[in-house]
């Protein structure tokens, strides 16, 4: 019976995910078309410098299919998303969007994954430490690190650090990106700084959330009971307090994924990483409709999928949460 309920729940969540992605894609399509600007003029003018005739502009518009009815354009794009072409080709350079995604996605994925893993390793222990040493020097030190992490824009920190590295060490990261399986040392050198910056920003939130929720949980009755039984403090924190505080922490981590992805946009440009973020920004600025539609739809799908996975993790981390309550929990973020 329980398995049937889980299966039923999962089915409707997947249907909802697909429907939401579809609606989002329609909205993205409409918004992009409503934006002022003309990609054809951008292409022909070389970024706004060269002159060209109206006839050439109209001919290129027809060649790129931009004179077709909007419904036809959307339908063509939607079909190419479904059949694996990921939206067809870039209007700017004619590259298949599938190749753009397969090339850019791993870069951003690696960047975000490294940052998440490092954040978890760093932030949960720091949060526990800060909570257990409340208002002592360890707590103050942790807050001294996390407040700038939350306050400073990551691109600002990036530029300061790069300039500092040049001035002091006369060194800068490599300028040509390689995947880890191509040249591991080069990969580490080029990705280390952006990963550390993202980790600093991301983990600062998690440390503070962890600290806050542990401080709430340690006043619960079952914790007092555990102390009365004579259990060691470390055991109480890790086996009882942390486990119960994990639910909101996992929620925050999942919600932070959107922040992380947006955080990669400028860092990718500064550090020369050929990821999704930089590609998306450039495509939006020049109105490369197909690329923007495809990448944003993909990101929406990824975010919704992550939310679904987090909801399922709730169930594992807290058996008290039933499926009927889970919906409330996921939307309340607690």
């Amino acid at each position: 019976m329980r398995q049937f309920r889980i299966g039923n729940y999962l089915f409707w969540r997947v249907v909802s995910l697909i429907l939401t992605t579809f609606i989002a894609s329609v909205i993205i399509f409409i918004v992009m078309r409503m934006l002022p600007g003309d990609i054809v003029s951008w292409i022909l003018s070389g970024g706004g410098e060269a002159v060209h005739s109206t006839e050439v502009r109209e001919a290129l518009r027809q060649e790129l299919g931009l004179n077709d009815h909007l419904v036809v354009q959307y339908g063509r794009w939607l079909w190419s998303m479904v059949n694996g072409e990921f939206g067809g080709k870039s209007l700017v350079n004619g590259q298949p969007i599938a190749s753009i995604v397969f090339r850019q996605f791993p870069v951003t994925f690696l960047l975000v994954t490294y940052a998440i893993i490092l954040s978890v390793i760093v932030s949960v222990p720091l949060g526990v430490l800060a909570a257990s040493r409340r208002n002592q020097w360890q707590d103050f030190l942790v807050r001294l690190i996390t407040i700038p992490g939350q306050a400073l824009p990551n691109f600002c920190s990036a530029l300061f650090i790069l300039l500092g590295l040049i001035i002091i060490f006369r060194w800068s990261p490599p300028i040509v990106y390689t995947n880890p399986w191509e040249d591991l040392l080069n990969h580490i050198q080029i990705i280390l700084l952006p990963v550390l910056l993202l980790t600093w920003e991301h983990s600062s939130h998690i440390v503070r959330v962890t600290r806050a929720y542990i401080l709430v949980v340690v006043n619960e009755n079952y914790i007092l009971y555990a102390r009365a039984k004579g259990l060691p403090q470390g055991h109480i924190l890790l086996r009882h307090a942390l486990r119960n505080a994990l639910v909101p922490i996992v929620t925050i981590m999942g919600l932070q994924l959107g922040w992380l992805l947006s955080g990669t946009l400028i860092l990718e440009a500064i550090f020369g990483l050929p990821g999704l973020g930089g590609g998306l920004v450039q495509a939006a600025l020049v109105r490369d409709y197909t690329v923007v539609q495809s990448l944003v739809t993909l990101l929406v799908f990824v975010m919704l999928s992550v939310n679904l996975i987090i909801d399922l993790i709730y169930r594992i981390s807290d058996p008290r949460i039933s499926l009927s309550n889970q919906l409330t929990h996921s939307y309340n973020g607690s």
Binding site: S45, G46, A59, E63, G278
Partner: protein
């Protein structure tokens, strides 16, 4: 850890002012009619780049090495030189496709036309037909011989595009430059005859535009186009070109790599085959600060070309501090900042007195440090200022040579006469990447009582709005047009040239361009060109040229043999004569 690095770096860093800035010309000098000569002495303060290395036969060029250059972005449009003139493409396209087509701008003097794929050419007596005799030692990178049929294919594709069934391929963006071509004929075995609709003595000058590159091998593209793949781009056929370097590798967003083409036809004065380099790596760095950092830590041999990546006085400080004598700076005359009026839209600016008043009021000299990063000078628009090589379009008496306070008094009087002594409000189309120039104009015009409303837009909207009649004024593009014939697209009537900076329907401008086309001597051409400039900038003041940027590109001093053009960063990007002295 990060804070420590930050603080330490800031403490250890120090700022040195740049010595002898290029723009340091006093107002007194600006009214000196022989200021051109004084400018030669003041300009440039940095050692210019090394044309001597080519001309000095005692220097032994070294073969080998990989030149590492920054490129400001991925080449758009699949590297198709018919689709776009983006410098992100042409910085690379020169190496792959060569510095020209049948002809090219001479490396020693870009205002002259030199042979490239054609070894010679001759007109008929009426200058309505031009016959080009091709070289017989030119090969595509797949070792297929280059033939007159390639020329015909390329020109027809550029001028007319292609229709296959219901599929269409648009003509080249530069088809307007070639619209005078009526017919292209192949005269076997090695000649191409181009018939023009009207006689033109200076047709090779038009053809020598470095943007007109042959990147479309007929033997590879024509079969696929006839099968319906009309939008095929050079990237789709592995970038097979005619240039000194052939394609090796392209990772979008990261790097473009090219290698020496062993079968390249050009040779140096000693008969040694070009190019000297083994190859070039173009590293894609879209952020200018990231480029500065990479260059200053020795990861680059040369900077990127393109607005935003050219250096300013402040950025040069870091270069000279970190690299000292290991860096030199190439200077290229660049685009002009200007104020252009839409006189087809009703408003006070339709009154010529208002436009003159604004032209007299603006302190153009102050635009150089304020807007151009310290590098530039005031000049009429479209005047190639090649101080060192050729003055055929220079020695131009400047407009409005009185002291600033006298000009401003006149401006006030004109405003009063026009009935706007209290000023008015006027819109201005402002590109988000050029807000400094917009703010400069806004601040300047406040003194005249004009409230310049800035409409700040991104590149996508810029390319729509600038060809529309929606705006009151605009800055115009930063294009560089070294020959007068190339300017009709930006100065002509709106109904013929929607890209024109100033929107007008003045048929007198048509008359000047007709006279230009009919000119029979260079002196006559220069005279008509000056009359046209005077008409546009003074008599009608449709456009107010303010200052011309000087683009500064850094190179390591071990990079030798660069042929830096005096203007137009698209020129001489083949790097065939470059060698590395290390």
């Amino acid at each position: 850890m990060f804070t420590t690095i930050l603080i330490t770096g800031l403490i250890l860093g120090h700022y040195n002012p740049v010595l002898s800035p290029i723009s340091d010309v006093s107002e007194k000098d600006s009214i000196d009619s022989e200021r051109q000569e004084k400018d030669i002495e003041n300009f440039p303060p940095f050692p210019d780049v090394q044309d001597d290395d080519i001309e000095n036969t005692s220097i032994q060029q070294k073969r080998g090495g990989i030149l590492i250059l920054a490129n400001r972005g991925d080449p758009p449009a699949g590297f198709d030189t018919m689709r776009t003139s983006s410098i992100a493409l042409h910085h690379v396209a020169g190496a792959l496709f060569g510095p020209g087509n049948l002809v090219m701008r001479c490396r020693e003097n870009m205002y002259l036309v030199c042979p490239y794929l054609a070894r010679s050419w001759f007109p008929n007596p009426s200058f309505s037909e031009w016959t080009f005799i091709l070289r017989n030692d030119v090969f595509w990178h797949d070792d297929t011989q280059f033939t007159p049929d390639d020329v015909k294919f390329w020109l027809n594709l550029a001028i007319s595009g292609l229709n296959v069934g219901d599929k269409i391929r648009a003509p080249a963006y530069f088809e307007g430059d070639l619209e005078e071509i009526e017919k292209v004929e192949v005269l076997p075995p090695d000649q191409v005859r181009i018939t023009l609709k009207n006689p033109n003595r200076f047709f090779p000058d038009i053809l020598a535009n470095p943007r007109l590159k042959i990147a479309h091998p007929r033997h590879l593209m024509e079969p696929r186009m006839n099968n319906g793949d009309v939008s095929i781009s050079p990237l789709d056929i592995e970038l097979i070109g005619l240039g000194p370097f052939k394609f090796k590798n392209y990772e979008p967003g990261t790097i473009i790599q090219v290698l020496r083409f062993e079968n390249y036809f050009e040779k140096d004065d000693r008969g040694n085959q070009l190019p000297y380099l083994d190859g070039i790596d173009y590293v894609i760095i879209s952020d200018p600060v990231a480029m500065d950092i990479a260059f200053r830590t020795g990861r680059l041999d040369g900077g990127a070309r393109g607005f935003g990546h050219y250096l300013s006085e402040e950025r040069i400080v870091g270069y000279t501090r970190d690299l000292g004598d290991d860096v030199s700076f190439a200077q290229i005359e660049g685009g002009t900042i200007r104020l252009a009026f839409n006189v087809l839209k009703s408003g006070p600016w339709q009154d010529m007195r208002i436009r003159r008043a604004i032209a007299l009021w603006i302190d153009k000299e102050s635009a150089i440090p304020a807007v151009l990063g310290g590098f530039g000078w005031t000049t009429p628009d479209i005047s190639p200022n090649n101080l060192f090589k050729d003055k055929r379009f220079v020695i131009w008496p400047k407009f409005d040579l009185e002291p600033l306070d006298e000009r401003r008094a006149k401006a006030k009087k004109l405003m009063e006469e026009a009935g706007y002594s209290n000023g008015f409000s006027m819109g201005h189309l402002c590109r988000a990447r050029h807000t400094q120039a917009c703010q400069f104009l806004k601040d300047q015009l406040l003194g005249l009582g004009i409230d310049l409303q800035l409409h700040i837009i991104d590149e996508g909207e810029w390319n729509r709005a600038r060809v529309s009649l929606d705006f009151d004024t605009q800055p115009g593009a930063l294009s560089v047009l070294p020959i007068p014939e190339g300017t009709e697209g930006v100065y002509g009537r709106f109904s013929i040239s929607p890209d024109a900076y100033s929107k007008h329907e003045d048929e007198e401008v048509d008359r000047f361009y007709r006279l230009l086309r009919d000119a029979t001597t260079t002196e006559g051409r220069i005279d008509i060109w000056r009359q046209l400039q005077k008409y546009l900038f003074l008599d009608k003041t449709y456009i107010i040229p303010i200052a011309e940027a000087t683009y500064v590109v850094p190179y390591r001093t071990h990079v030798k043999g660069l042929t830096i053009p005096s203007e137009d960063g698209h020129t001489n990007t083949d790097f065939a004569t470059v060698w590395l002295d290390k």
